[in-house]
Amino acid sequence: MLRTLLAAGALALSAFPGLAANGERVTVTGEVIDSWCYYSGVMGGPDAVTGSAHHTCALWCAAGGIPVGLLTEEGKIYMVLKWANNDKVADGKTMLSVQSHQLVADGIHYERDGIDYILVEEVSSDEGITLHNHEDYGFVPPFAQPGQ
């Protein structure tokens, strides 16, 4: 029986090695971003897909369940897997009220295969949207403009 359980455990760890990983507590300061537009360049370079210019598009993507990231001032991206201990971060609702906000988040950090992840437990400060780049870029994409 014990041998069977051990074998089953080894098999599970083989399938999901991350099960053995330990997270580390972090405090991260950064902007909540839409990770797809940032990674892919589909809407333009990184400066155009953050802040107020890209806010409506970021709402659309979060509503569509696309993973949200936390972009630090040092340029590191933490992909958000929990928000205030809610694990349904891709439900199309949870992340909308903080999209594009500059904030300080406390949580648990994991890294696997080159991607950083964060399980946010608490937002200790929220400054709202501080990057007012719509003054340079307008609406990104242009059809985010009302009436388009």
């Binding site: 399938a15 999901f16 090695p17 991350g18 997270g23 797809w36 940032y38 990674y39 892919s40 360049g41 589909v42 809407m43 333009g44 370079g45 990184p46 400066d47 155009a48 107020s52 210019a53 806010h55 409506t56 709402l59 659309w60 509503a63 569509g64 369940g65 696309i66 993973p67 040092e74 340029g75 590191k76 991206i77 992909m79 897997l81 694990d87 349904k88 891709a90 439900d91 609702k93 909308l96 009220s97 994991y110 890294e111 696997r112 295969d113 080159g114 991607i115 950083d116 992840y117 709202g128 007012h132 719509h134 003054e135 340079d136 870029y137 307008g138 609406f139 990104v140 985010a144 009302p146």
Partner: protein
């Protein structure tokens, strides 16, 4: 100033086509469509489907979150975890619903690995856009465009003309409260008056 902004915007929007590199170690036999994205590589491979939180922490619901958790695939060849960032549909949607149908199953996927740290600092690895999926052994590929069907069932009151993301009640509520730029309704009004 506006001209500079327009130029910057144009160059930024044009940049993806310049950044395309196309081929990678998993590109053979891929039938994925190019989107001309940063660091794009076509990639078809076998993998196990999971949700990302499960893979990292062991918190594993049997349904992988039923479409409401970010999803990942663990590539069979090298046990590498790839975060699935996007569906194959050009409409601001993820592939979480379609992938959750294959929770804990061995599948074959076809799509694009995306991301280039030279163009977007802070990226440590590419993410995956899954365009097609099928169970290992199945001959039938499925598209990953399930989101809008799920969305329509969830929000029947939002039925109407135009794309789903402009009718989404949660997005509309956020915009009604904080505006299209997220800075308040006055900021929208000021910009529109100056630029229309």
């Amino acid at each position: 100033m506006k001209r500079i902004a327009l130029l910057l915007a144009f160059s930024a929007l044009a940049a993806p086509a310049l950044a395309q590199d196309g081929e990678g170690p998993y590109s053979a036999n891929s039938e994925a469509k190019s989107w001309s994205l940063f660091g794009e590589e076509k990639a078809r491979f076998e993998a196990k489907v999971t949700d990302a939180l499960c893979a990292l922490t062991g918190d594993c619901p049997a349904d992988c979150g039923a479409g409401e958790r970010p999803m990942a695939v663990i590539r069979k060849d090298d046990n590498k975890m790839l975060l699935v960032n996007k569906s194959g549909a050009p409409n601001f949607t993820a592939a979480n619903y379609r992938l959750s149908e294959f929770c804990n199953q061995d599948v074959e996927v076809d799509g694009l690995l995306v991301g280039d740290p030279d163009l977007t600092p802070g990226i440590g690895a590419k993410v995956y856009q899954v365009q097609l999926i099928r169970a290992v052994g199945s001959e039938e590929w499925l598209k990953t465009n399930l989101y809008t069907k799920q969305w329509a069932e969830r929000y029947p009151e939002a039925k109407g003309k135009g794309p789903w993301f402009k009718r989404d009640p949660n997005v509309k509520a956020e915009i009604e409260k904080n505006g299209y730029f997220g800075l308040g309704l006055d900021a929208d009004k000021a910009w529109l008056e100056e630029n229309q």
